[in-house]
Symmetry: C2
Subunit: 138 residues, 2 copies
């Protein structure tokens, strides 16, 4: 049962969807992961970014450095605490992020092979899955 779902995911392009997408858009998988964690016009402290990326603070620094080099994000500060540095998407960053999400949400061909009824059935069943906080894009 679970194996069906897992195997499907593993075999379909979904497993390395992010790798493929990042190649298409000329960025690295790391860039993509980070971009997805940032909401447009919503600066975020490095710390919470590292946390939701499940990685070291120094790794977050490195990632943001790479993103900043390519004008995808900008660093900022908060007046209340001069220790924290924030990260926010630039217009280019927001655009790239939107493209990534658009591209990631394209269903794999395996799913498109299903007919309308089967799709609806699957949809209904999936709706029962507990909502683990959606990672991006509502």
């Amino acid at each position: 049962m679970w194996r069906d779902l897992f195997s499907f995911f593993w075999s379909s392009g979904s497993r390395n969807a992010m790798v493929l997408v990042s190649q298409e858009l000329g960025v690295t998988p790391g860039h993509v992961k980070a971009l997805l964690e940032l909401e447009p016009d919503q600066p975020r402290p490095m710390g919470t970014l590292a946390e939701s990326l499940h990685c070291d603070a120094s790794n977050a620094t490195w990632l943001v450095d790479r993103l900043e080099e390519r004008d995808l994000v900008e660093r900022g500060t908060v007046p209340t605490d001069r220790r924290v540095k924030t990260v926010v998407l630039t217009p280019l960053g927001a655009k790239t992020r939107a493209a990534v999400i658009e591209r990631l949400h394209e269903p794999p061909p395996e799913l498109l092979a299903l007919d309308r009824d089967d799709l609806e059935e699957l949809r209904a069943a999936l709706a029962k899955l507990p909502k683990s906080e959606p990672p991006f894009g509502a």
Copy 2:
């Protein structure tokens, strides 16, 4: 719709299941990826291994080197073409691979939270998915 499924995989432990499993078993994620591509007692040329791993030939060389160091695989040759080197699981390798598969197939807690009816519904819907050749373990 597809987004539900994708988001589920993304958010649930499944995304880094391989990382966790490899830590448990004392191998690296790279080891795991490679092990899953090898059938026991079925030597495989490096080339096709690299291909199904979607990686460079030199990367495959590097990976197999690491596996060989740990006695998980052995290199061999084919009599018909002395250029190709084959890779085959050792007994230890086969055992490790089985453990990995066993562990990977355990469903994530999110799924276990569903009640029996919902599970059955999901199962029925998934059964309609086209069979993309199962990557491992029947």
